[in-house]
């Protein structure tokens, strides 16, 4: 049942501020809502679930007044640093402006899929958590706020619960920036979510384990956020060559560490582990197009992800610059990022301004290059090989945040028969997040995955069902094309597993390159199968 939660209620001493139940969320066609898993009482006594009954951060409940004060003081210390150029030059201007100029018009709310699909719970409004942040900042750091309190809009009393609720709330937004795209002023409430995450990570050491300790830290220690070492990477390449030989009845030698190549291709290393057919497809296409390319086994050279882009500028900078250095060591002419949205945005766009001095190497998305295979006739495709309904997911990072809209559509129209490719409602820059963005796809601790699948991923499920509404019968195989690793992770866990899309509707998911290889005229057998599980 929806309970109105005012901004100043964020620190209320309720057992759960907004207890979310499966009855609250928007119903979905043919989906039986099951009650959410119950968390044991002893777990809830130790760790904080008091925001909405879910936990993404495993925050230990403070036991003493000193611990509570430490939490509050640490938060305030971090908040101050968000607004000083020495500590936050990278986003000082956008953060300052978005903090100061929200007109509280709520235009952003209806644009947010998490808010709408949750049954419009107040705490998930895109402007709720930033408004808490604004009022705290105003109260503790401005003269008007200190003197006038609530009369100047500074009506949030800071306590440890406020801090903990904000920390968890920072992980109830995928930073898709749909809210920013509709704001009449230009305020970016998604950016403020990211700034909050930064404050928690960079000052208080709070971040989801999967994202930090087993994410960016693991990445820099081993070479990959998956823990895959250079030796394991090379073993995976051999395995992929075997997959290719099985599919093509011939061998392709995947080039690794080829000095001076035109292109260093860098994948989200999760592809090697979970979807090896994706790097296999890239290798097949690149070989067929006659490109001078290579992978790298250099530590920091084969893992394209940069989790820092979601939560920590220091981690972000370290990873981006190390990736660039790895490419420079190989002497390649440019880096091409495989099918991974955040990796593309991080390396090609956001990191661009870190490329000072000789930290320079061109970087681009794989999509225009793949488009050239089609438009320049470098590879021959037979669209009749993809004679099944296909819909396209637009990864937020590539599409709304980089404007890469048309190459993938040009490709799809070329490699599918007329009428087979159908857009989802709200496609292109208006797309909805898959629900796995900003790290959600890899956050599976506690019961966070349940929240993600039920709330964050629900709009995408709705979009896919609408796209295929004329052919939902399971006798018709269908393909959900998602050219992004984390989006595929969300598809696997939410669409396939949780919503049963494969079983109920015979929908499978995959990247764009698999579909391209499936249409190549000189492959002896289909590359895509509705029977096989990779």
């Amino acid at each position: 049942m929806k309970k109105q939660i005012r901004v100043k209620d964020i620190g209320a001493d309720d057992a759960v501020l907004t207890p979310l139940t499966s009855e609250d969320i928007q119903p979905l066609l043919n989906h039986d809502e099951k009650p959410f898993r119950t968390i044991k009482a002893e777990t809830k006594e130790r760790f904080d679930y008091s925001l909405d009954g879910f936990s993404g951060l495993t925050l230990p409940i403070p036991k003493t007044k000193e611990e509570e004060e430490r939490i509050v003081n640490s938060f305030l210390a971090g908040l101050e640093k968000l607004f000083e150029k020495e500590s936050n030059w990278a986003f000082l201007q956008p953060t300052t402006l978005s903090t100061q100029y929200c007109m509280q018009c709520n235009t952003c709310n209806e644009a947010c899929p998490i808010y709408t699909e949750s049954g419009r719970q107040d705490i998930y409004r895109p402007n709720y958590r930033p408004e808490v942040l604004r009022r705290i900042y105003h109260r503790y750091f401005t003269k008007a706020g200190k003197l006038l309190g609530k009369w100047s809009g500074a009506d949030v009393e800071l306590n440890w619960r406020v801090v903990y609720h904000l920390a968890e709330l920072a992980y109830r937004c995928t930073i898709c920036r749909r809210c920013a795209s509709v704001c009449p002023v230009g305020v970016d409430n998604a950016l403020l979510t990211r700034e909050l995450r930064k404050l928690f990570s960079q000052e208080m050491g709070i971040a989801p384990d999967n994202v930090h300790k087993s994410g960016s830290v693991l990445h820099m220690r081993t070479g990959s956020s998956t823990g895959m070492t250079p030796a394991a990477f090379l073993n995976n390449i051999e395995f992929i060559e075997e997959i290719i030989e099985e599919k093509l009845d011939r061998k392709i030698k995947i080039p690794v560490d080829k000095k001076g190549a035109d292109i260093l291709l860098i994948h989200n290393a999760g592809e090697y582990m979970a979807w090896p057919e994706n790097p296999a497809a890239f290798a097949i296409l690149f070989e067929a197009a006659g490109l001078n390319w290579t992978l790298s086994s250099d530590v920091m050279g084969y893992e394209g992800v940069n989790y820092g882009v979601w939560y920590d500028d220091v981690q972000f900078a370290k990873v981006a610059l190390a990736q660039i250095e790895a490419a420079k060591r190989l002497g390649v002419k440019k880096i091409v990022v495989g099918e991974c949205g955040h990796a593309t945005k991080a390396l090609v766009s956001i990191a661009d301004r870190l490329c000072v001095g000789d930290n320079v190497i061109p970087r681009e998305s794989c999509l225009p290059l793949l488009e050239s295979f089609v438009t320049k006739g470098l590879i021959r495709f037979d669209p009749s090989r993809n004679d099944f309904p296909v819909t396209l997911h637009d990864p937020c990072n590539m599409v709304r945040l980089m404007g890469i809209v048309s190459p993938q559509r040009t490709i799809l129209r070329h490699i599918t028969p007329p009428g087979r490719f159908r857009e989802m409602p709200n496609s292109g820059v208006d797309n909805y997040c898959c629900g796995g963005g900003s790290g959600f796809a890899i956050m599976n601790t506690n019961n966070f995955g349940e929240w993600r699948d039920n709330v964050a991923c629900r709009m995408k499920a709705r979009q896919v069902l609408t796209a295929f509404e004329d052919c939902l019968d399971p006798s018709i195989p269908k393909y959900y094309c998602a050219p992004c690793s984390n989006c595929k992770g969300a598809a696997r866990d939410a669409l396939m597993e949780h919503y049963g899309f494969r079983d109920k509707y015979n929908i499978i998911y995959g990247g764009l390159v698999e579909l391209m290889v499936n249409a190549m005229v000189d492959t002896p057998r289909p590359f895509i199968s509705w029977e096989e599980d990779f």
Binding site: Q93, M103, T107, V182, K318, R329, E364
Partner: protein, 315 residues
């Protein structure tokens, strides 16, 4: 004495405070370090072909900059508030006339000055004698009346929405209501003065000209003095309030969402960023080495990566 103070020194003080504080704020935003890329698409000046990232080797190509597309997008936002129209129609019904009232008020002030130059007094009925003066007189009345009417209508609609809509009421703080009441007061007093004592805007024109020529205003009519008082209070308060979003909007669009300037060696951008990289962040988390500059923090990782690279090669 009071009317002398309100229609003269008080307005000068308000204008000075507004200009100084607003100017200081604009300069402070402008001086902030160049931030990392945070564009949001579509970026209008990239033209009909769209994002440069859709092209192979985009960095070798001269970036497209279509001022016409940018102007069109800006005009749609500034004049029509297109995003509110598209995504929050109920709000737009109030916010558009309110903003039009503000724009028309600016035009009306210009017409008042123009009218003084043409020596307009009362309603110029004799078309034959001075067509231009007659037209300016009529236009001044029309624009002024429209400004006050639209502004008042819009602010009342927005205030009513705030009070009657649970969603808007729940997020609003005291300041939001204060701002809307102030807008109702500005436009309301302007409309009231026009309707009751100043049908041709002669009195307000005399006051504006007196201010521009540093003379004492001859106007003592209470309705007009109250109008000036409210306007002065608004100017004093404006630069400290979120109603300065008209300035922030420029930065949001041009400096953030549409800022796709690439890093070019030896450019002003590179110099700015190099300076920022010499700052030492004060973050306290364990994974951030204290006392190191940003360049050193990143270099730590490069050294570590190189070391691992050598270890890998030696195996």
């Amino acid at each position: 004495m009071l009317s002398y103070f309100i229609t003269g020194p008080f307005i000068y003080l308000s204008v000075i405070v507004f200009v100084v504080i607003a100017g200081y704020k604009v300069m402070s935003y402008q001086k902030m370090p160049r931030h990392l890329r945070w564009d949001l698409y579509p970026v209008p000046h990239q033209g009909p072909e769209g994002s440069k990232y859709q092209k192979i080797d985009f960095y070798k190509k001269v970036p497209v900059f279509s001022i016409a597309h940018e102007m069109l997008a800006m005009s749609q936002e500034m004049i029509f508030i297109k995003k509110a129209f598209d995504h929050n129609r109920r709000l737009w019904i109030g916010t558009w006339p309110l903003h039009m009232g503000i724009y028309l008020s600016g035009l009306w002030l210009v017409l008042l000055v123009f009218g003084w130059m043409l020596d307009i007094q009362g309603e110029m009925m004799l078309i034959g004698s001075n067509l231009i003066a007659w037209a300016v007189a009529k236009l001044t009345i029309f624009v002024g009346a429209a400004a006050f009417t639209m502004g008042l209508f819009g602010s009342i609609v927005l205030l009513w929405l705030r009070l009657s809509n649970a969603d808007l009421r729940y997020i609003a703080d005291f300041v939001t209501y204060l701002n809307l009441c102030l807008m109702v007061a500005i436009f309301g007093t302007g409309l009231a003065a026009w309707l009751t004592v100043d049908p041709f805007f002669d009195l307000i024109r005399q006051n504006v000209i007196a201010l521009l020529t540093f003379q004492a205003s001859p106007v003592t009519e209470p309705a007009v003095v109250i109008e000036m008082l409210i306007f002065g209070m608004f100017l004093l308060y404006l630069p400290f309030s979120r109603m300065m979003h008209f300035v922030a909007k420029y930065f949001f669009y041009h400096n953030i969402m549409w800022d796709d300037e690439p890093m070019v060696p030896q450019s002003a951008l590179e110099n700015d960023v190099k300076k920022s990289l010499t700052y030492s962040p004060r973050w306290s988390s364990g994974h951030i080495a204290t006392g190191k500059a940003w360049t050193e923090l990143a270099a730590l990782q490069e050294k570590e990566a190189e070391k691992q690279h050598e270890e890998t090669n030696s195996r």
